[in-house]
């Protein structure tokens, strides 16, 4: 299957269980995590996950709303964005 790489970005206050909640959701939906990084920047916890959404069976807005739900529960901003936007903006 063709890879479709997107970034999940989680921004906010560091809390227990962020990685567990997001990765559990991804596992249940047949989405592989290719890379994971985290860092504190400008006083904010920032985690990025590079994920392959090629195997996701439903339209992307469904995954988006599931991620948003986790974000709301934990008081964090969660975003899903195709990797091409970062490639275009940060690589010449």
């Amino acid at each position: 299957m063709k890879k479709e790489l997107s970034f999940i970005t989680v921004i906010g206050k560091d809390k227990k269980g962020i990685v567990a909640k997001v990765s559990n959701l991804l596992y249940k939906n047949n989405i592989n995590i290719e890379d994971i990084n985290q860092k504190v920047m400008e006083g904010l916890f920032v985690m990025t996950m590079l994920v392959d959404v090629g195997g996701y069976k439903y339209p992307l807005h469904k995954l988006n709303s599931l991620l948003e739900k986790i974000g709301k529960e934990m008081g964090l901003k969660v975003q899903l964005q195709h990797e091409n936007i970062f490639k275009m903006m940060h690589r010449v």
Binding site: I11, Q38, M41, M47, N84
Partner: protein, 452 residues
């Protein structure tokens, strides 16, 4: 090289906290093939073409919003200048009916603004142009989505003062027919109008364009303000570099969305317009960028230099990021749509005269300027002609979007609603240019146009 957390954060922060967005995706549609001697069939063809394309545009744009997590704020349509396609239907009521047809097609498809109800009359007025201008007060008051433009001059043809002289009376009539004169906000008069400008109210599908094309307008004054604020000590050369780098990044985002959207729509990609465009949202203000430069309020001495620096850096950064830079590409400084501009007028830092000076170095002109409703018609015409002559002589686009608001005096604040913001009424010079303006005719093309 893999994308780092820092880079992902930088992009996410621009979108989440600094109002980075794709301001508009504007589909340019050629309406010439719809022309028919049977007006009923003509209208139906126009409706169908606009409605069908509008629906697809919205659907595909929404898909990309989701894929890239970047808001595409406006989905719009620009059509062939309507005076051209109405040449065989020269009756006022038919112009109004055509406007209503476009208005309905846009509204039914979910398009907020449809541009192009205008004419190219830089050298002379056809009967169709004159009828269109004559009908505009009715059109602007009886439609919600239709935007109108006139191009009354260019470097090579000079300025058509006879056309300019029709605008003051038209605007005063329009203002009287619409709440708070807001109908005037959907009309803009240009010289050197670009044929691929995606921004309203002046977007139209140029006669040199193909059948259909997609133009993109990106925006990010909030992003630029944020980097300027972080670099308080750097000199102007460094400041220009920092802005260039930032604009490069946001233009690349526009280029990506534009290319992919055009590909998905199976149509050619036109241009990315890299203009910084304000909204009334907090922080989304070009005036605030100028403030971050170190100027208390825009309009203070030093503001023209600041806008010149900003404008040039935006162009350089954008030009490196896309092979398709077009439209107006620079910096808009609308008054009512930018809360920093509104504040500057309230504090008497920004006058109409200084605004005119700023427009000599910005990309457009006097934009969203409210003036007292009792301003004489010939004074409105003279304000317009002054601004447009800057464009003619300096080889650039210049435009005016001005609202003579009935019953209002200088210092009053008028809520225009929605995207149009809050207009502080600005005072105009009380002395008259009536005898000069009534000479009419055409300002000859400047000597710089003789290049052959």
């Amino acid at each position: 090289m893999a994308i780092t957390v820092d880079e992902v954060f930088e992009t996410a922060k621009m979108i989440l906290y600094e109002n980075l967005d794709i301001r508009t995706t504007t589909l340019g549609i050629n309406l010439k093939p719809c022309v028919d001697s049977d007006f009923r069939i003509f209208k139906k063809k126009v409706y169908d073409k606009v409605y069908k394309n509008g629906l697809v545009l919205i659907k595909e744009a929404e898909k990309l919003e989701l894929k890239y997590g970047i808001p595409i704020v406006n989905k719009r349509i620009a059509v062939t200048p309507v005076s051209l396609i109405m040449e065989a239907h020269l009756r006022k009521e038919k112009f109004l009916e055509m406007a209503k047809t476009l208005d309905k097609a846009a509204g039914d498809a979910g398009i907020d603004f449809i541009g192009g109800f205008g004419s190219l009359c830089q050298k002379g007025l056809t009967r169709s142009d004159s009828l269109l201008i004559d009908t505009l007060p009715d059109i602007l008051s009886k439609t919600k989505h239709v935007c109108s433009f006139l191009n009354v001059g260019s470097n090579v043809s000079g300025m058509n003062l006879d056309a300019v002289n029709l605008i003051g009376p038209m605007l005063k009539k329009t203002a009287k027919k619409t709440k708070n004169g807001a109908g005037c906000a959907r009309f803009v008069v240009f010289v050197n109008a670009p044929e691929d400008n995606p921004f309203m109210a002046g977007a139209f599908h140029g006669v040199g364009e193909g059948d259909i094309t997609l133009n993109i307008g990106i925006s990010g004054p909030g992003v630029v303000r944020s980097v300027v604020e972080k670099n308080k000590e750097c000199d102007l050369t460094e400041l220009s570099e920092i802005i260039k780098r930032t604009v490069f990044k946001i233009t690349r985002a526009g280029e990506l969305i534009g290319r992919e959207l055009a590909k998905n729509l199976k149509i050619p990609f036109g241009a990315v317009d890299i203009s910084l465009a304000s909204t009334i949202n907090k922080g989304d203000s070009v005036a605030d960028v100028i403030k971050a430069f170190g100027i208390e309020y825009i309009g203070a001495h030093g503001s023209t230099l600041a806008i010149a620096l900003l404008m040039d850096a935006v162009k350089k950064g954008g030009a490196m990021a896309s092979a398709n830079v077009g439209g107006l590409s620079g910096t808009f400084i609308p008054v009512s749509e930018d809360m920093g501009m509104v504040e500057a007028v309230k504090r008497k830092s920004l006058s109409l005269d200084k605004l005119e000076a700023l427009t000599a170095v910005c990309s457009v002109g006097l934009d969203m300027v409210a003036i007292p409703g009792n301003t004489p018609e010939e004074t409105i015409n003279a304000i317009i002609a002054d601004e447009l002559s800057i464009g003619i002589i300096n080889n650039k686009t210049a435009a005016v979007r001005i609202l003579p608001i009935p019953g209002k005096k200088p210092g009053d604040l008028v809520k225009l609603g929605g995207l149009l913001g809050i207009a502080p009424v600005m005072s105009v010079n009380k002395y008259s240019a009536k005898n000069f303006m009534k000479r009419g005719g055409r300002l000859p093309a400047p000597v710089t146009s003789l290049r052959n």
